[in-house]
């Protein structure tokens, strides 16, 4: 028994002794004096001229006035704009309770415009809104201030106005409740039934225009619709029908400046800029490819604000996206892939101050760094405005054509693979 107790004591003390020798790591004070392999995390900015290759360009036309989510009305010297449209879906019958009844006649009609008061430059004085029929049909995708469609100019720039439909005067002032009117209605005068019946039979051809008269202000409307009072056959009551302008667009003057060598974002037609580039496999003795890419961004320096009225005036977002094909082969048809990084906020005041826009492309550069093939295609990135159909203004950024100090920059934070050695 005594021997067993002695043995137990020995074993217990052994366990205690061994347990006291845990292998805790040493704490080093700094990287320089700590033992072992160290590899620095390096930061470098490479202007595009320092890269093996870089190409950039602007493509536009991704959104045109016909596909924009807004229309502009303006009678300023620097911007004249008016919506055009066709009410092509005027019905010949209406539902009354559970019955569909033919429309006997239209007794009244008006065009209703929903004004986006937050994004509009509201006129300080009263303005008049007038509705006109057009004497010449237009192509909603191609119509401009000068052309009804490609190759077919208006007789009078701004649309061939034919018949005056009605007008009203509006004053966009804050009312006693602190709100601003956000709906403008222009009532039709004359024989409404004849007009709407004709539009119904011709699918709205040739169309109508809404004209703003009065100095100052740019009204931005989101919805333009026809509100008509119809009398069903056999009834002495009226039914209100509402139809949107389809197609609906707007024309403006002067036209949006053509893109130059600068990189343009947003505007109407909406512009994106695309680029492809190659990164060096190594920077001097330091291999870049194969390194851990901690962060990679593309940085663009903004130019001065575009001239009015095409300067971006509201905050928008922009997103770097992966391009799935060569943008210099496929142009604006280049398919885009997944987004890279998060959306970046573009603030006109910040851009006007010259603050650089950064887009995170870390995930793309990481793939490039890890690619285990000899021939790697260039990195292809597009910068896309978000949302794309809500901006009339744009902003431009310096491109590879500009001088040193202005050109785009690839900014990298990377950690080369450690070189493990024996003594």
């Amino acid at each position: 028994m005594i021997r067993k107790a002695g043995l137990f004591s020995l074993l217990a003390s052994t366990v205690v002794a061994l347990g006291a020798c845990t292998e805790d790591p040493f704490l080093a004070v700094d990287s320089e004096s700590a033992p072992g392999v160290a590899t620095p995390t390096l930061e470098i900015s490479l202007e595009v001229g320092e890269l093996p290759s870089w190409r950039d360009t602007t493509y536009w036309g991704f959104v045109v006035p016909n596909s924009a989510s807004f229309s502009l009305l303006s009678d300023q010297e620097e911007l004249r704009a008016r919506p055009l449209g066709r009410f092509s879906t005027i019905p010949d019958s209406v539902f009354v309770d559970t019955l569909r009844l033919a429309i006997d006649r239209f007794t009244a009609a008006r065009i209703r415009l929903s004004v986006d008061s937050a994004l509009s430059e509201l006129p300080t004085d009263s303005v008049e809104l007038a509705a006109w029929t057009l004497s010449r049909s237009f192509d909603a995708d191609e119509a401009t201030w000068e052309l009804a469609r490609e190759g077919e100019p208006w007789t009078t720039p701004g649309g061939d106005l034919e018949t005056f439909l009605g007008a009203d005067t509006f004053s966009f002032e804050v009312d006693s409740l602190g709100s601003i009117i956000d709906t403008a209605v222009v009532r039709f005068e004359g024989n409404v039934d004849s007009l709407l019946t004709a539009w119904r039979e011709s699918d709205g051809e040739p169309g109508f225009a809404v004209v703003l008269s009065g100095p100052g202000g740019v009204l931005r409307t989101s919805v333009m619709s026809l509100v008509a009072e119809a009398v069903p056959e056999g009834l002495d009551t009226t039914v209100t029908i509402v139809r949107g302008a389809l197609p609906g667009t707007f024309i403006f003057d002067p036209p949006t400046p053509q893109p130059t060598t600068r990189l343009r974002l947003a505007g109407l037609p909406s512009a994106r800029y695309y680029m492809d580039f190659r990164l060096p496999d190594s920077l001097g003795f330091i291999p870049l490819r194969g390194s851990t890419i901690n962060r990679a961004t593309l940085e663009f320096r903004p130019t001065a604000a575009p001239s009015e009225p095409f300067d971006l005036r509201a905050n928008i977002f922009a997103q770097a996206v992966r391009l799935l094909a060569d943008p210099f082969v496929f142009g604006e048809k280049t398919p885009i892939g997944s987004p890279l990084g998060s959306q970046e906020l573009l603030r006109p005041d910040s851009l006007a101050s010259g603050n650089t826009m950064r887009y995170d492309i870390t995930s793309l550069v990481r793939l490039w760094s890890l690619a285990n093939v000899d021939s790697i295609p260039p990195l292809r990135v597009g910068i896309v405005p978000i949302p794309e159909n809500r901006q009339f203004g744009f902003w431009e950024f310096f491109s590879e054509e500009d001088g040193p100090g202005l050109r785009p920059v690839v900014h990298l934070l990377f950690t080369p693979n450690p070189t493990f050695l024996l003594p």
Binding site: R3, L10, A17, E23, A28, V29, S31, P40, S53, L283
Partner: protein, 399 residues
């Protein structure tokens, strides 16, 4: 397509400092370096707990030893036996900034012996070079993207071991032995830097950077020894050891991508013990290792010859709880072969003591050895550690 023009020279110069940093970083052998990071690591003495308590002798030890210094000493075993020794040590690494505590666990030696008539056949597995260490540091990386606090871990895990076969022959009062051992083992080097989110911007994250490499060690060792009884009270023993080159083959992800070779030393060890009285035994040993033959090509490491010596006294007159408990005390000194190029060679010294117990009706022996000592001096050798090592041996059918 545009080709890079004169601008390339710009980033070359910008990165020059970084290049220097990359190349210089592994060279750092400073006052925060544990001995296991110096050169090829810390040489582990292949001794059992009894030898450790007797001043780290293990050569010509009266009564036999599970140490693995001399194959001729196997002739002292007349029965089949096997013994294993663990030797964890707690360490305090002294740096300019203060002391830090850690520990190291080692399986030092396993020795088996099978007698057949006058022949003894042995099998041993030894730790040879301990290369384990682990360091953590914290800092902040300041960049144009943000300031990122980070924790960095650098770790070496592994070392060199040996697996040896030995044959000894008892020729009257003499014992002759030879041993051939394969040096084996591997070393895994790990680096990981984990970044926290940028200061003041939790969404700004840059992940981590990591890497690792694995080296496989290989080589051969040949040892011959002679032991002899001097009268009935004394034993004198000596061995000489030579190696092939130690080869390190880099084998990361299964692909050999580099090989390094290191010259190994010629070793001579001599020791003996004498029974002074019925209750006292005196043991002493020493040796020489020509580690200065080893050249280090890449890092700023140096090597030098090593002299070691130690001795101790064993008292066998104590019974505790009915068990005979031999008490041992000793002292040892040894040079360490590796050191940083800008420093002096390290040495290690320790006071030792311990005890043993025979258990299981005498069919097993349990031995403890304690070594309390220090190695190096932070000002002159760049590395300074104090340590307490506890050796624990269990032998079966050993006598």
């Amino acid at each position: 397509m545009r080709r890079a023009g004169p601008g390339r020279s710009a980033w070359r110069s910008r990165l020059l400092a970084a290049v220097v940093a990359v190349l210089a970083a592994p060279v750092a052998l400073t006052a925060q370096t544990p001995v296991t990071d110096l050169g090829l690591g810390y040489p582990v003495p292949p001794i059992d707990a009894r030898a450790a308590a007797l001043g780290g002798t293990g050569v010509g030890l009266y009564g036999g030893s599970f140490s693995s210094r001399n194959p001729a000493d196997l002739t002292m075993f007349s029965n089949p036996a096997i013994g294993a020794t663990l030797a964890p040590e707690s360490v305090k690494l002294k740096t300019i900034e203060g002391e830090q505590s850690s520990g190291r666990s080692r399986f030092v030696v396993m020795q088996g012996v099978l007698p057949f008539q006058k022949w003894r056949f042995g099998l041993n597995v030894n730790s040879e070079l301990d290369q384990d260490w682990d360091v953590i540091l914290t800092d902040t990386l300041r960049t144009g993207f943000g300031d990122y606090p980070y924790a960095e871990s650098r770790q070496h895990d592994g070392g060199v071991s040996s697996v040896g076969l030995s044959v000894a022959y008892k020729l009257g009062p003499l014992g002759l032995g030879v041993e051939g051992s394969a040096l084996t083992g591997n070393l895994r080097q790990v680096f990981r830097r984990s970044f926290d989110p940028a200061v003041g911007d939790p969404s700004n994250q840059i992940g981590f950077a990591a890497g690792d490499a694995r080296w496989s060690w290989s080589g051969w060792r040949f040892r011959a020894g002679l032991t002899g009884e001097i009268g009935r009270r004394g034993i004198l023993s000596a061995a000489i050891t030579t190696y092939t080159q130690l080869e390190a083959e880099k084998d990361t992800f299964g692909i050999a991508i580099g090989t390094q070779k290191f010259d190994m030393p010629l070793e001579v060890s001599v020791g003996g013990s004498v029974v002074l009285t019925q209750k006292f035994m005196l043991a002493a040993a020493g040796g020489w290792k020509t580690w200065s033959n080893t050249d280090f090509q890449i890092l700023d490491s140096e090597s030098a010859d090593v002299m070691w010596a130690g001795g101790g006294l064993e008292y066998v007159g104590l019974n505790l709880l009915g068990l005979p408990v031999p008490l041992r005390v000793g002292y040892r000194y040894t040079d360490l072969p590796f050191y940083g190029g800008q420093y002096e060679q390290l040495s290690e010294q320790a006071y030792t003591f311990g005890f043993g117990a025979r258990i299981a009706g005498g069919r097993a022996a349990l031995d403890f050895g304690v070594e309390i000592g220090s190695r190096g001096n932070v000002e002159t050798t760049g590395t300074e550690e104090s340590f307490q090592r506890i050796s624990l041996s269990l032998g079966i059918n050993s006598r």
